[in-house]
Symmetry: none
Subunit: 144 residues, 2 copies
DNA sequence: TTCTGGTTCCCCACTTTTCGCCACTTACTA
DNA sequence: TAGTAAGTGGCGAAAAGTGGGGAACCAGAA
């Protein structure tokens, strides 16, 4: 289970180290995909297979479904960790999430999220302002 | 399983290199056919056989089904990879997808798609716009 | 048949990118 | 404060992508 917030940096070769405490769960392989709100999702292979299976079997008849599947599958990439636990972020994903040097890695239960540090801080302060709404949601979920 | 987005180029002899990480799955042979939305589909021989089977058994009653089957089956061609992992794109397919020099190769689960780079970028930015719909679709897949 | 022009295919070569490894530095722990 | 682990940086080797020469092949024309 992925939890916590970590700061890492992308070097000149587009390499990004993943937090060492999670490397065991990845077993040397991860899948990175386009996420929501301009971040990237990082899944262990086992999680990704479930998702890909569903995507691959979606009907291609409808135009909007087709483009959704294209975006998700073509937007994903499977990567190997090097001996230091780093992955190389492809250009098209790096651009999508507007990643520069400083990256925030966030643990979200069954995945990691990669954020440009600045974007993350902004997003977070926005979300923190919305405390009342969050409290409301928690209540609805039965969390007190 | 094919995923990811790759940039390659067609040279003056109409040769196009396929991403090296997939060459193993092709075993030297591929089937290329007209795809949906002005792109080309590239299947490994094993996948193509399944597809062709399905297409051959489709009911020919509906007009749109008929034209879809014609599109896929009539345009299909099997190609060999050369020793550098390239295929030669026939003119009629190159024209159909309006391929110029810069080509985007997209992995879509059981096939690759070949797009003119410009067309791909346009298609993608169109699909990316509707983040709400994407979130909705993700929710339907059980991804949160 | 023989010549010629065009096309295809095979192989070699150059350039760029990627990958694996090693090493330094920083942070945390005991 | 020594020791260990994590994060970062850089080098050299290997692989991938691209371009081009030239042989083989196939047509049509003389």
């Amino acid at each position: 289970m992925f939890i916590g917030e970590y700061k890492h940096s992308i070097d000149s070769k587009k390499r990004l180290a993943l937090p060492s405490k999670f490397r065991g769960e990845f077993k040397g392989k991860v899948v990175v995909t386009r996420g929501l709100d301009q971040c990237l999702f990082v899944y262990p292979m086992s999680e990704w297979k479930k998702i890909a299976e569903k995507l691959g079997n979606m009907p291609v008849g409808e135009k909007s479904t087709r483009s959704f599947v294209r975006l998700m599958l073509a937007g994903a990439i499977d990567l190997d960790l090097d001996s230091q636990g780093r992955i190389v972020i492809p250009d098209y994903l790096k651009n999508y999430a507007k990643l520069k040097k400083a990256v925030t890695v966030a643990g979200l239960f069954n995945r990691l999220e990669l954020w440009d540090e600045g974007a993350w801080d902004k997003y977070k302060s926005g979300a923190e302002k919305d405390q009342d709404k969050i409290a409301e949601q928690l209540g609805r979920l039965g969390i007190y």
